[in-house]
């Protein structure tokens, strides 16, 4: 069939020319599936990501830090919604996507299965976790699927405040009392390697990466992004007077970048499988919020129906 060959050629030439693929364009079924999986996981991460930070809203040390944290958590909710609607342009329904999250069938970033134990963790999360997410998301602004790219552009604009507010918290602690600085170091110690895991397994063990790069869904590999993150972050750590918990971290003049230790990948896989410190708590909190909100959805549907009837009756 000429037609099928044509549309496929058309799709491939779009990728070659760095053009965008739009919802109504023909696309290979696996491209569609890959995107639904990736975008919805990304959305779930934003939504679950509200939980570790939400944990500190009521205990923020000042009114200023409280309104900032509220605004940040509200942004994360917004980012989740942009991404869900982007995934829905591919034919997935919102209920289906949320169902997959709530039953544990769909994954979200493993970083959010770690607890936020002290206020310094809110600093470390904003600075490191959002910093790593930005690195990934800046790349995704040039992803080949139009609605995903547009969502990423919005998100990147909003994220930079998140990272800066995190670093500000770290600065306050590191230039405060000795005890506060220790708290900051402790947070860095706990978040460093989980943050490194956010870029995903090494390229050699990342089965989805190669295809994603071919389709221009991703533009840089996991290892490239991880290297970039380390190279940019080291000076920020030094400014704070903190120490990265990695004895192998060393400037490598030949590659003009840092050498560093790989995170413990067995921990990564174990957390993904559900054995992280907070997996159970996160899913329970999400499910509870969803089922506690059921009556609101039902009431809103009933109200909308009733108004429609009134219009018809009038």
């Amino acid at each position: 069939m000429d037609n099928v060959v044509d549309v496929e050629k058309n799709f491939n030439s779009k990728l070659e020319k760095n053009d965008f693929v739009e919802p109504k364009d023909w696309m290979p079924e696996n491209y569609r599936k890959h995107l639904i999986r990736q975008i919805s996981q990304h959305a779930h991460s934003e939504i679950i990501g509200m939980l570790p930070e939400g944990n500190w809203i009521s205990r923020a040390p000042s009114l200023r830090s409280k309104i900032v944290l509220l605004a940040k958590v509200q942004d994360e909710g917004g980012h989740g919604l942009y991404l869900y609607t982007a995934a829905e342009t591919l034919g997935a329904s919102r209920d289906e996507l949320l169902g997959a999250l709530h039953t544990g069938k769909a994954k979200y970033s493993s970083i959010f299965n770690y607890p936020t134990l002290t206020w310094a963790d809110i600093g470390a999360v904003g600075w490191l976790v959002d910093g790593a997410a930005i690195m990934n998301q800046v790349m995704l602004q040039r992803t080949s699927y139009g609605p995903y790219s547009r969502a990423m552009i919005r998100i990147c604009k909003e994220e930079s405040f998140h990272q800066r507010q995190g670093y500000e918290i770290m600065c306050r602690l590191c230039f405060g009392t000795e005890e506060q600085k220790e708290m900051a170091q402790d947070a860095l110690n706990r978040w460093w390697f989980p943050t490194m895991m956010m870029f995903g397994p090494p390229d050699k063990d990342s089965p989805n990466s190669e295809q994603a790069i071919k389709w221009r869904i991703k533009r840089e590999t996991n290892d490239e992004l991880r290297q970039k993150f380390v190279d940019r972050t080291v000076a920020q750590v030094e400014f704070l007077g903190l120490t990265i918990p990695d004895k192998n971290l060393k400037w490598n003049e030949t590659k003009k970048g840092y050498d560093f230790s790989e995170p413990d990948w067995s921990e990564f896989y174990s957390v993904i499988k559900g054995n992280g410190p907070c997996n159970k708590e996160r899913l329970e909190a999400r499910n509870k919020a969803h089922s506690d909100g059921a009556w609101v959805r039902e009431a809103a549907i009933a109200y909308a129906e009733k108004k429609k009837e009134n219009i018809l009756a009038a």
């Binding site: 549309v7 739009e22 109504k24 364009d25 023909w26 509200q74 942004d75 917004g78 919604l81 942009y82 609607t85 829905e88 329904s93 919102r94 209920d95 547009r150 969502a151 919005r154 909003e158 959805r297 809103a300 549907i301 109200y303 909308a304 108004k307």
Partner: protein, 95 residues
């Protein structure tokens, strides 16, 4: 299964008076009041707009990409619709 999230709406934002309304994304809402409030909360958290439209996504009629070639073909060979098609003698001003 009936979707419990309400219908989909498309959101258009006008940055300030005098400028066009530009599509910025979509959202779910159960009725139009909720749609416009959600649009405000979701798409104008940083003063991105001074006016909003929300339109039920189902009401939008879109051209189809497969037919784009023939659909837009009529304008392809009409270069005379562009000002550069016309030659104006040198020295003539304000045209």
């Amino acid at each position: 299964m009936k979707d419990s999230q309400g219908p989909l709406w498309e959101v258009f934002v006008q940055k300030k008076a005098g400028q066009p309304f530009v599509h910025c994304g979509s959202l779910h809402a159960y009725d139009k009041e909720m749609a416009i409030e959600n649009a405000r909360d979701l798409y104008t958290r940083r003063s991105e707009g001074s006016a909003l439209w929300v339109v039920p996504a189902a009401a939008i009629v879109a051209s189809s990409p497969e037919d784009a070639g023939s659909f837009f073909e009529p304008s392809n060979d009409k270069v005379y619709r562009h000002p550069t098609f016309y030659q104006i003698p040198e020295g003539v001003k304000y045209i």
